[in-house]
Subunit: 223 residues, 2 copies
């Protein structure tokens, strides 16, 4: 009994990658840097964003796409911090894909922006699979989640450019070993850059803000 | 602080519905009847399919798209029963959408078929949200799952045309009340047709096969 086997997910991802490549190209032409911010619920994505916006808003025009299942709490806080915000309701979907991101960008109007963040749906699995067209994938692992997360959710660590280790001030309380977490992440992705931060007290965010400012300048220069 | 709110999921579903409508139109022109078979893992989707194929294979040319996360066990059994089969690997995706279904149909080659089943991914939630272009949505609730499932997963019962209550022979053992389950399903969807069946001993499948044969004849007549 013969039958064909179709890998439909690969086709879904291929379609997604095509749209993501278009987004990347368009943003590059416009000199806009897009950052895909990912992490579990409660890892501190919004708090990290607020720390970055505070440090960058005077020199860069910032847009934020807030992807949430159905609330707009984060969008409100981010808008108050001084970014242009679009709230994206995924209605239960566990990730943003390239087509949804392209629509969010259209609604945001990136023409007069320098830096756009997509705050992805709080989830350590699905968002890792979908390229949304970002120039930088920034994931947050928070200390209370444990230093074993790279072993359990390897894909997220494999695809990310930057790994923020948030709530680093709480490391002793949670028996979290930064060196162990870093080794495990680097075993999956030797190029991953690791930044211990605290979105609570702001530690580490000056460095990150400076890096983002430089990336954005390079992006503009390479147009 | 003002910001736009975008319902991205609604847009995803709108795109999906457009593709589903195209599929439905094409299949109608060709006189092919497409059935979307849904239900939890273990509800008896493949066994029900085998019962139907055995009864219909002498009069109808049957195709089956077997959607599975990554196995091909079901595809093998169905091919041996005498249907033309395509195995669709969703790679972890919890449902089939209209675009994936259209690709599966293309691989199956529906031109010389009368009746095509899509055996959807075993899941009582996600598949209910995506119209794949089927003429008939057939869901299976099995007795061991309990007669409260329409309360817990209303969407599946709301969108289905037929509800097969499988493993009906085991109803006394599981304290499953068919009348209660039926009332709960009809409260959500007054038009749902309910068929108690047993894919184990074949009870109820003559009726179902006759209904499918008639639907297919009407489909051909209305071309």
């Amino acid at each position: 009994m013969d039958f064909k086997i179709l890998e439909v997910k690969e086709q879904v991802l291929a379609d997604n990658d095509r749209i993501a490549a278009e987004t990347r190209k368009t943003l590059k032409q416009r000199g806009v840097l897009l950052v895909n911010l990912m992490g579990s619920p409660g890892a501190g994505k919004t708090s990290a964003l607020l720390q970055l916006i505070t440090r960058l808003r005077d020199t860069l025009r910032i847009g934020v796409m807030e992807a949430d299942v159905d609330s707009d709490v984060d969008a409100r806080a981010v808008a108050e911090a001084g970014a242009r915000v679009v709230q994206l309701h995924t209605g239960g979907l566990c990730h943003m894909d390239a087509a949804m991101t392209a629509r969010g960008l259209e609604a945001l109007g990136p023409e007069d922006l320098d830096l756009v963040f997509l705050e992805n749906v709080g989830n350590l699995v699905c968002p890792a699979e979908f390229d949304v067209g970002a120039d930088l994938r920034m994931m947050i692992l928070s200390v209370p989640e444990g230093d074993d997360k790279p072993l359990k959710y390897p894909q997220m660590f494999t695809v990310s450019d930057w790994m923020l280790v948030n709530k680093i001030d709480a490391a002793p309380v949670f028996d979290f070993d930064l060196e162990t977490a870093s080794q495990r992440a680097r075993a999956l992705n030797p190029n991953i850059e690791i930044f211990p931060v605290s979105a609570l007290n702001g530690a580490g965010f000056d460095t990150l803000a400076a890096r983002l400012r430089r990336l954005r300048a390079e992006r503009r220069a390479s147009r």
